[in-house]
Symmetry: C2
Subunit: 229 residues, 2 copies
């Protein structure tokens, strides 16, 4: 039985859907919509209404039969669950193409994720700024993270440098790593790792394209053997 | 029962693991390793040996008891399954920060994904090149895709332009969309969509960090109520 004060374990599938709820409720809020039914959410989000009710039940009793959900209340609750009610300090490690692109993107700040520094080994980059964010030498990284209570390290470094950097970060106050390298990071369990493995994603796309092409070919073969009358 | 010539449906979880197998087998191949056991793969990949055997059984009988897997054969087979035995033509739509970063990255080419053009509406960008890849006006996109048999469109455009672009692409020979916009794309089922939703990924990280902090706080409260003797 669940103990009061215990944290209910929520499945990864539900967690992965929460950002969608959050973003669409934000849109509704900006459009001054006060309440929304699971049916209406279902139309926008593409999940079934019963799945939406089940998902949201995981986090408490938000809805009211015949009334629907209070948009503002639900938005605030989900924002708390996602930890978006407080701001997060981020640093980007690796000022290469991807690191620079992420630094230039202003969309993370909207949700309270503030990039406050970038670290790199390249002396041609160190000392420069990207959108007012300074690039510091990687030697200063650990000190900076601890001194500034940085929550999240964004890793956009080459594969072969990952192990060393991860070892250095593991001794800091960092709470999460947003990992854009293809390396599987092993670190103490207090630090959360979230991976964006671009090559894996591209391979998955390629798999499905390939599968679709195989199916087309089989269909054509069948048509040859059993031509339509 | 499975029919000969039918394509076996493989679960998404297995497909998502295939790129990992592929990349690690590639490393073994480059190190001239000829065979590998499921136990050895398990140590590198972190999945259990029995899961590895189960995964690979989905695609045929690759292993031999007491011998292990033939690295080169398994690598070739997985490359075929992932559709990496043929090259793919890609275009990037949207030459903003992320589009430019992806265009500059040479890692996709290694696996046969060739970026052959970039499209944008910005007259200051059109006519330029990124790593020898030309930036063309978006008006030429549909013609170019059909004329050059492009397989994959990489979407790095702003949210509000996505619908229009997707509508235009849907009339071309494109087979897959690699979607970096936060928009859920609805398109005819012949075109595969693979999403890289960065904000969702960041929110998931934030959720886990927040959950970890809540647990720490609860633990501290418990210690106060029931202090260690």
């Amino acid at each position: 039985m669940e103990q009061p004060g215990e944290i209910k374990k929520v499945s990864m599938a539900v967690i992965k859907r929460l950002p969608k709820y959050y973003q669409h409720l934000g849109n509704l809020l900006r459009d001054n919509v006060e309440r929304v039914s699971s049916q209406e959410l279902s139309k926008i989000l593409g999940f079934t209404a019963s799945q939406i009710r089940q998902d949201l039940n995981n986090f408490g009793e938000f809805g009211q039969q015949g009334y629907g959900y209070n948009v503002s209340q639900l938005y605030t609750e989900i924002s708390k669950i996602l930890g978006l009610n407080t701001s997060h300090k981020m640093v980007i490690i690796g000022a290469g193409n991807l690191g620079q692109a992420l630094a230039k993107y202003t969309g993370f700040g909207i949700y309270g994720f503030d990039i406050i520094a970038i670290f790199d080994t390249n002396p041609n980059l160190v000392g420069r700024e990207i959108r007012d964010i300074p690039i510091y030498p990687v030697e200063d990284m650990e000190y900076f993270i601890n001194e500034n209570d940085v929550d999240i390290a964004v890793l956009t470094i080459p594969k072969d440098k990952t192990k060393k950097i991860v070892k250095a970060i593991s001794k800091t106050c960092i709470r999460g790593i947003w990992n854009f390298t293809p390396v599987e990071i092993k670190i103490n369990e207090n630090i959360i790792v979230e991976n964006v493995h671009l090559i894996d994603s591209l391979f998955t796309l390629s798999y499905h394209i390939n599968e679709g092409m195989l199916q087309e070919r089989l269909l054509k073969q069948k048509r040859k053997i059993f031509p339509s009358p």
